[in-house]
């Protein structure tokens, strides 16, 4: 029998709140974290087709954490430090009482240290002075700087891994943390996702890919609108989410509060296209089926889906197609929500943040609204998508997450038995 794995702590740094309490309040109120992009000085914003993003303003690590080494890592890893600090405190885990080698860290990150990376590249190419490239460049841009710094800050000496699968990175981090505990490599895994790349180059790259919303530059809060007929691309966001996963026996032993059980996970590749999903949704459907099977549940038992739902015209259609193939008539009874309607697409953080929203829905019986869902699109309509908050018990929930590189993840959460 598989070891059961539960979530005992949550932490978040998001465009609508730093801290789970503030995030959840804003999410349930349907507050948008999307604003006009402040400045890419000296780059003229007019040169960008999209000029909206979900940004975290006035973030200062030292206000959240007394950890001087944290100044050496880039913004995304600093977000992860703050989210993990909250999650650890929330879990009540006492690191001084734990066996450090039994605590792992698995972080999902899509882009890495782009703030410093872009600054240094720009200076190098402008000034042609290689000896003035900052000595901290390499450790700061490296994707695993986040998982590394979390271990250093909190003393976790178990497996220390980084999962980079673009937009689905931290959904896979959740799945890999589940497998890490199931396989006996660790009792506890500090699981996180983080990205902070609202930077001139990355933003321009997504603009050039024509992946971002461009029709709502004058009304930023309207720009992220998953499943809505007028959606025209995703909104780039930034942030971090952290969840403490531990084996059920370990959690029971220390009488920890349990938000939810991580019951199942599946990872697949569509082996199809770097940035376009298969339009028939069959691979998404297969991923969901595998995750439900891993959890030992049937489609008829699922109450809620935290959808990937980035607000791109193709992506949302394909996801609903895949969901319909698996759930058939159950779709009529499923609640579905899109966290990205509130905070944009936080890339490597998205799966973890979706996981946090799902864990909170299981705990509270409340599902946050999908904002800007004003006019259902017949191509991706489902009755359980709502622009209002929903109150309903959630026993089994599914988190969908798909990434560039043709990869899919699905994670199943279950309400803990009393």
């Amino acid at each position: 029998m598989k070891t059961r794995v539960v979530i005992t702590g949550l932490g978040i740094v998001s465009p609508i709140g730093i801290g789970v309490k503030d995030f959840w309040k804003a999410a349930m109120e349907g507050r948008s974290g999307v604003t006009a992009v402040k400045s890419f000085d000296p780059f003229p914003l007019e040169g960008y087709r999209s000029r909206v993003a979900a940004q975290i303003e006035n973030f200062d690590l030292s206000q959240h954490l007394d950890f001087p080494q944290g100044a050496r890592v880039d913004r995304f890893a600093q977000f992860a430090l703050v989210a993990a600090k909250e999650a650890l405190a929330d879990s009540g885990l006492r690191m001084d009482r734990e066996e450090a080698h039994r605590i792992g860290v698995i972080v999902g990150a899509g882009m890495g240290g782009m703030v410093m990376g872009e600054r240094e590249v720009t200076q190098l190419y402008q000034q042609l002075r290689p000896h003035r490239v900052h000595p901290n460049l390499i450790p700061a841009i490296t994707l695993n700087s986040a998982s590394g710094i979390l271990a250093m800050a909190y003393g976790a000496k178990g497996p220390n891994l980084t999962i980079s699968t673009a937009c689905s990175s931290s959904a896979h981090a959740l799945g890999q943390a589940l497998n890490c505990i199931r396989s006996g490599q660790a009792d506890t895994v500090i699981t996180a996702g983080a990205d902070a790349s609202i930077t001139p180059l990355v933003f321009a790259g997504f603009c050039s890919l024509r992946a971002l919303s461009t029709k709502f530059n004058e009304t930023p809060t309207k720009a992220s609108r998953p499943f809505d007929r007028l959606r025209d691309g995703f909104v780039l966001g930034e942030g971090a989410g952290a969840l403490i996963l531990e084996s059920l026996p370990h959690a029971k032993k220390r009488k920890a509060r349990v938000y939810a059980e991580v019951a199942g996970y599946a990872a697949t590749s569509e082996a199809y296209h770097m940035v376009i999903p298969r339009e028939d949704g069959v691979e998404i459907a297969e991923t969901i089926r595998l995750a439900l099977k891993d959890a030992g549940v049937t489609p008829a038992q699922v109450d809620y889906i935290n959808a990937h739902a980035t607000s791109t015209p193709v992506g949302d259609n394909v996801e609903i197609k895949g969901i319909r193939q698996v759930f058939k008539s159950r779709v009529e009874k499923l609640a579905i929500s899109a966290t990205k309607s509130l905070i944009g697409h936080t890339l490597g953080a998205a799966g973890a943040i979706g996981g946090i929203a799902t864990a909170l829905s299981i705990e509270t019986g409340q599902i946050h609204p999908t904002i800007n869902y004003d006019e259902p699109d017949p191509e991706c309509n489902a009755p359980g998508i709502s622009r209002s908050a929903q109150e309903r018990p959630v026993k089994i929930a599914l988190i969908n997450s798909f990434g560039f590189g043709s990869n899919n993840a699905a994670v199943v959460f279950r309400k803990p038995s009393p």
């Binding site: 001087p68 050496r72 000896h131 003035r132 900052h134 000595p135 901290n136 450790p139």
Partner: protein, 100 residues
Amino acid sequence: MPAESHIADQIITALAEYLKRDKKSITLDNRLRDDLGLDSIATIELLFKLEEVFDLQIPDEDLKGLVTVGHVVKYVQKRLAPPPSKKSPQPAARAKRPKK
């Protein structure tokens, strides 16, 4: 050429900023690692800063001798000294000369 005391002041100021502590608490005989707690990467970051402040390039082989704040001050002072004659090599080449 800046006076030695001015160089010392600039270096101690840079150190105090880096370490986030009062510059009065830093003395020339403080050892970078043992007294000020700079690990090897922190020392490299400090030297990176000093390279900018004094428009220098410090070659790897010179790092070994820089144990105390005073060593750094003396080193920078020496590097900023004007060449003794017209035959002196250019700064980049001069930087590679053995220091002892």
